[in-house]
Each structure stands twice: as C-alpha cells, then as structure tokens.
C-alpha cells in the first residue's frame, strides 16, 4: 500500500513542474534548426549550408547591396521577418525580385546617429534577420552589445559595406571579389545578368576560406547558381 496521496501541490509548484516537463519533451535543437535557410547559390559560402542563427555577417565589395538582399531573401521567403535600418535608398523592386517578401519587411527610416544602436537592438529583438548599413563609424561598445544581443536572441545581423564603420570581426565576412555584367555592349543590348565571385572568411566553423561563383542577379532578377562553372579540383593537403 503506497503512502497516502500528498495534498494537492500548490499551483505555482505545478506550473514549475509543467515547465520542466515542457523543456524535457521539446525536441532537441539540431544544428539544422539553428540555421536559417539561404538560397542554394549561397549555400557553399556557409559552413552549415545555411545562415547560423546568433551570428554577425559582413557584406562588402561591388554588389554588396544585392548580396545583402540575397542573403536576407532566403529566410524571408521561408517566413521570417527582415528588418532594415538605414536602407532609405534600397531599390525595393530589386529586393522583391531577389526574393525578399515585402509583407514581412520592416524598414526604419530617418534614424539619427544617436538612436541607431537602440533602434537596431529593438529590431534584433523582434525579427530573425536585421540588415544594417551604418552611415557613420559604429563605436566598439555598441557593436559588441549588438552582437551579444543577436547571439542571445538567435537573430542574424547583416552589416553592409562595413569596411570603415564596423569595428569588430564578423562570424562570416562575405566579399564580392570579382563581378562582370553580361548583356550590354556599346550602344546595344541591356544589362541582363551579373556573374560574381563571392569569397567568405570568418571565425570558428567558418574559418576556412570558401568561395563560389554565382549569378547575382540572373536574368530573372533572382540569384542563381552558375551551372557551367569551373570544375572543382582536388588539392593536396
């Protein structure tokens, strides 16, 4: 005969127990779940084949705006919200063509230098991907705080053209190293596609340099893989 049943546990204790149980039965977060999807053409640039949550990404070189939009397009198409700070000049028609969903895009305009860190932090709290193009040098303390915030919230912070304005190393730094427009001659044709080579360097898992050649944009306006690209050779290590 077991002991007499204890009196009803108080509600608070029950709530704690329930919460523990919820934690225990929640599926383990696999590495894949801690990444956000990216367009297949950008996959080779990231160690896990997707954007790692809680990371910072720098984008630079000719075509940085397109590249940043293409990076944001993957999560956006998959249902994430994307926030932009300092993006008054972005061509939203191009953003839509690259795959950024307008109905899940927040754009904060006319942000003063003093408000910039607060506004960016508020966006990091709320959306999965924040694309920031600071027009002024960011202080190291602000940069650290924003990176920590992104780490804590599982968001991705994409900084565009940071060469002079971002004082920290990025988890992944993307740079367009070569670009070439197709389709336009001397007085004939039109801009139809741009073939770019993007190289990625970074820290930790992304420390090994990677590069890829892709269409950014292809003739339809979307990013695309270069199918007839240079063959991959095995190298001695």
């Amino acid at each position: 005969m077991p002991d007499a049943a204890p009196s009803d546990p108080p509600l608070a204790a029950l709530a704690v127990e329930l919460r523990q149980m919820a934690g225990a039965v929640r599926p383990t977060a696999l590495a894949v779940e801690r990444t956000l999807p990216v367009h297949e053409s950008l996959g080779p640039l990231f160690p896990m084949g997707g954007l790692a949550r809680s990371s910072t990404i720098g984008v630079s070189g000719p075509g940085a705006t397109s590249l940043a939009l293409a990076v944001a397009a993957g999560p956006s198409a998959a249902g994430s919200w994307v926030g932009f700070v300092g993006a008054e000049r972005v061509g939203w028609a191009a953003a839509a063509e690259l795959g950024v969903a307008a109905e899940r895009t927040l754009v904060v305009c006319d942000v003063g230098v003093g408000q910039w860190p607060t506004v960016t932090a508020a966006l990091i709290d709320a959306v999965d991907v924040v694309v920031a193009s600071p027009t002024h040098p960011v202080r190291i303390n602000d940069a650290r705080r924003l990176a920590a915030r992104a780490r804590e919230r599982g968001a991705v912070l994409v900084v565009v053209q940071p060469a002079s304005s971002w004082p920290m190393a990025f988890d992944v730094g993307l740079e367009v190293t070569a670009a070439e427009w197709c389709g336009v001659g001397s007085g004939h044709g039109r801009l139809s596609a741009r073939r770019v080579t993007v190289s990625a360097t970074g820290r930790r898992g992304a420390a090994r340099p990677r590069d890829t050649t892709m269409w950014l944009p292809a003739a339809t306006g979307e990013p695309a893989c270069v199918t007839a690209g240079p063959e991959r050779h095995l190298r001695a290590v």
């Binding site: 028609a93 927040l106 336009v184 001659g185 007085g187 139809s192």
Partner: protein, 523 residues
C-alpha cells in the same frame, strides 16, 4: 437564468455627430476610400455606406468628406459619458457612440425603467446638436437593449423604448437575423449562411436546437442561438474573476502626455492578456483605472462582445485618458501616476489556437509588437513597409508606406506586365532625388539626344556630382520615354541609358531637358 436588465444609449451616426457640424450639412466619413458613416442630409442625396469616395462625391457634389478618426470619436464621446456619470454609478462603454448601464440601482432611485430612460435620453440629447439623435432602449441584456435603442430612433421624436422584463425573447423574435452581425458580435459569414439556409428571422434561428447549433457552427453558433433566444451572450458567470488577474503599474515619473501613458498602457495590457490567456480565459469587460498626481481617479468600464485583445485594451486606455484630458473642467490636472486593469467579466477563451512551439503567428505578432515599439522611438511615420505598385521607373514601382497604413493581408506584388518599364533585373540602389551627372563623348563635348531619339555621339566618360571623369566601358540605350503627354504640367520626356563603368559598376542614367542624372545604381 435571468439576464441583467440593461439600458443602452445608441447615438445615431456617431462618427458624423462627433464632428460637431451643423445639422443638415451633407457629411460622409470615409475609411480606406469607402464611406463608413453619413449624415441624414447626405443619405437623402443618395450617399450610402460602402460607396467609394468618388461615387459619393458624384452623387452629392456638396458632400464634406472627413477621414475616419476613432480616437476623436472616443474623445468626444467621453463628454456624453461624463454627464451620465451623474445618473448611474456604472457605465460600460461598448464603443464610441454606444454605452450600456445596468439599470437595477438607478431605476429604483429614479422610479422605474421608463423614468430612468426618459432622464438619460434628455441629458444625452442636451449634449448633441440634434436632440433626437440619441436612441435609448431598456431590455433584459445588452443585445436586446441595443436593438431597442436602435428601433427607438425610427419612431418620431425618438422616445425611449422600454421592453418589459421577460418580454425580450418576444421582442427580438421577429427581427431579421442580420442584426446578429450588426450590431451583434457574430461574423458576417455566419449570418450569410443563415440567410442561405432560410433562417430569415431571429425566431427561426432560436427554433433550432442549441446542441445542433454547436455541432454545426461551433461556439459562434451557440452565441447566435443564445442571442436569438433573447438570452445573455453567455450563462451568468458562476465565479468571480480571481483577484490576481488584475494588474497595475506605477508610472515614475508620471506620464504627462497621452502617448506616454498609452505606451505604458500597451505594456500593461500585454501582461494582462497574457495572464488571462494562461488560464484559458478572455475578458469581455475590463475596468481601466487611472490615478493622477492631482488625486483624481478616472475609472471606466469597457465592454466588447467579442473578447478584448491586448491592442484593443491599450486603445481603450488611450481613449480614456485622452477623453479626460480634453474635458474642459478636468479636476486636479497632473500626470498619470498609476494605471490599473481589472477584468470585470471573464469567460472561457474560444479564440484562435497558435501553432505548436510558437508558429508563424508568434513571429508575426513579435514583429508587429516591435513595430509599435519602434514607432514610439522614432515616430510613427518612420517605421515603414515597402508596397509594390505598377510603374515605369524603379522609384515609381515601390513606395515605402508607414506600417500603420498597411493592411497586412493586402500586400500582393503586382506581377501584371507594365509596358515600358525599366527591364529586369531592377537596380538595387535608387536615388530620390536623382544625382546630377555629366556625360561627354570621346572628344569631350556633351552628349545629347535629338527629338527623334538620335544620339549625337557615343558616350565615353561619366562624372557624377562633379567627381572625376570615369571611362564608360559599355552602355545601352537610349530608351525614350514620353510620359503623360496629355497633361501639360506632369508631361515628361526622358531618355534612359544603362552605363557600365570599370569595376562592374552599373548605373541607370537619364537625360531630361538637356541635363544628365544618375537615377539608380545596380549595386
């Protein structure tokens, strides 16, 4: 199961009346380009609810068009509610223009429902420009009382309509079933289905079995059945709401402005609704109490037949404080130093279910909350969303519009072809206004385009905003645009080029009236 005897005041055309315009002037209140309310004079001229603004103006050229502003309506309605404060201790505001009073105490004091209704009608009428614009109805429960108030407006002089105790089911039975959706809380879809099923009157709906209604239409069906039978929306609460569902917040420093108090109210409302939701409850009546540094206490009861959400509660907090501040003789002016929210009537929440582990709904809610927070930081017009339109130039194709003005479900990229638009891919950086530039040929003289689209020479070098000359590697164009030639003021003739500079920098360059502009960049 006796419904609470209730008096309802219904102000006719409140969105129009709250404007304080002269009687007899044709006025239409529009929201999102559709007429939502009209004055009597406008109705005579044929302006009806649901018309487009242009159609309303066509039918009645003199009509005064006013944008819908529910905040103003709420503020003006506070004037009406404050005179009722002298008659009844407890007034439930349903929405601007409609409020309910439980009659038990006041009726006994003033000598019966009829005396009370006459008195209410007189004091409310004094506050309105048209004294017969307020309908008063008394019945068992707020829904039949609302219907009685509306019906009383149809009679000459609009005397109050008092339905004797116990006669409410008989009163509502012959009414058309569409009153369930307006002023009732049911959805238009449900009422439409009733119409197709041949349930034209409330008596037909009430004749069905409650269990069948639940099986076929869910909770909403049960609600419709109860209302059609002349009963209260739900069986009287069997228990008082637990005290710990009330939340309060001290504001230090006190909020001096409405928006400060409203912002604090939003945070408070979120916590309040979360606390209710954790117990599976929803509030249909909420008491909002605000204390000021001048020792004034502003207390109002807000009622909504559907359950009140966090945004709705926050909006009512703002209305309440705004209305108090706009009172001419507000006693003890000062900042708001304490806000309290107390559920007055709770019921089981039958609302929507969120996805497991926080689905897409949670993400959208999070983004919308953040948008509200950012608006408080940088101003409402600086938080925007892109909206795609048709257009030829990249700047015309998309506009950034403030988040508040975007109907979140309405953004659909318009994929229909737009002849003459700049071809895809689109430029990723658009300059508004365009940046001035100069283009010269190999010999160094300015390049021009003739009226027939003939280029004077091949462009060779480009300079943007007076910067050093850069060689043009390749180019395409000119593409001629002759836009709005029928309109002298907005007529534009332009020639567009795409120019590629060294380093794969590509610009969209425009020649207009002899000047060159860089309109956009393919970055």
């Amino acid at each position: 199961m006796v419904a609470v005897r209730t008096l309802v005041v219904w102000c006719r055309d409140w969105p129009v009346v709250s404007l304080d315009r002269a009687v007899g002037e044709p006025v239409a209140v529009v929201r999102a380009n559709r007429v939502v309310a009209t004055s009597a004079a406008a109705r005579v001229a044929g302006v009806a609810e649901g018309l487009r603004r242009r159609e309303a103006q066509r039918r009645c050229p003199d009509v005064v068009i006013v944008e819908h502003d529910i905040d103003r309506e709420a503020r003006v309605f506070d004037r009406v509610v404050s005179v009722l404060d002298d008659i009844a201790p407890r007034i439930e505001i349903i929405r601007p223009g409609v409020c309910a009073i439980p009659t038990r105490g006041p009726s006994r004091y003033f000598g019966g429902d009829i005396a009370l209704a006459d008195r209410v009608r007189r004091v409310v009428g004094e506050q309105l420009s048209d004294p017969s614009g307020a309908g008063v109805g008394v019945a068992d429960g707020p829904f039949p009382a609302t219907l009685a108030a509306q019906r009383s407006l149809g009679r000459p002089g609009a005397p109050p309509m008092v339905i004797a105790a116990g006669e409410s089911p008989g009163f509502v039975a012959p009414l058309p079933s569409r009153v369930l959706a307006s002023p009732g809380p049911c959805s238009d879809e449900l009422v439409e289905v009733f119409g197709r099923l041949g349930l034209a009157r409330l008596a037909d709906v009430a004749a069905l079995g409650a269990a069948d209604m639940l099986a076929r239409f869910g909770h909403e069906g049960v609600l419709a059945h109860r209302l059609a039978s002349g009963l209260d929306e739900r069986p009287p609460a069997v228990r008082e709401p637990p005290a710990d569902l009330a939340v309060s917040m001290d504001l230090d420093p006190p909020a001096e402005r409405v928006d400060q108090a409203a912002f604090a109210g939003k945070v408070l409302a979120d916590g309040f609704i979360d606390g209710l939701a954790a117990r599976g409850l929803a509030a249909t009546r909420v008491v909002v109490t605000a204390r000021t540094t001048g020792d004034a206490v502003i207390e109002r009861v807000w009622r909504d037949d559907g359950a009140l959400g966090a945004t709705a509660v926050a909006q009512r907090i703002r209305w309440q404080i705004d209305g108090w501040l706009s009172r001419p003789n507000a006693t003890g002016r000062g900042g708001v130093c304490r806000l309290e929210l107390r559920p007055d009537d709770v019921g089981p929440a039958t609302g929507r279910q969120e996805g497991f582990w926080g689905g897409a709904d949670a993400r959208d809610d999070r983004a919308r909350r953040a948008a509200a927070r950012l608006q408080a930081m940088v101003g409402a017009s600086s938080v925007r969303m892109p909206e795609l339109h048709g257009g030829r130039s990249p700047a015309e194709q998309v506009r950034l519009v403030p988040v508040d003005t975007v109907a979140a479900t309405a953004i659909r990229p318009d994929r229909s072809p737009w002849p003459g638009s700049v071809p895809s891919p689109q430029p990723t950086v658009v300059f508004t206004p365009a940046r001035p530039a100069s283009v010269v040929d190999a010999g160094g003289s300015d390049v021009s385009v003739s009226g027939r689209g003939v280029l004077s020479a091949a462009p060779a070098r480009l300079s943007v905003e007076g910067r050093p000359w850069t060689e043009i590697v390749s180019w395409a164009g000119p593409w001629l645009y002759d836009e709005r030639w029928w309109d002298a003021t907005s007529h534009r003739r332009r020639a567009r080029f795409q120019m590629v500079l060294p380093g794969a920098i590509a610009h969209l360059v425009t020649l207009e009236a002899g000047s060159w502009w860089v309109e956009a960049t393919y970055d």
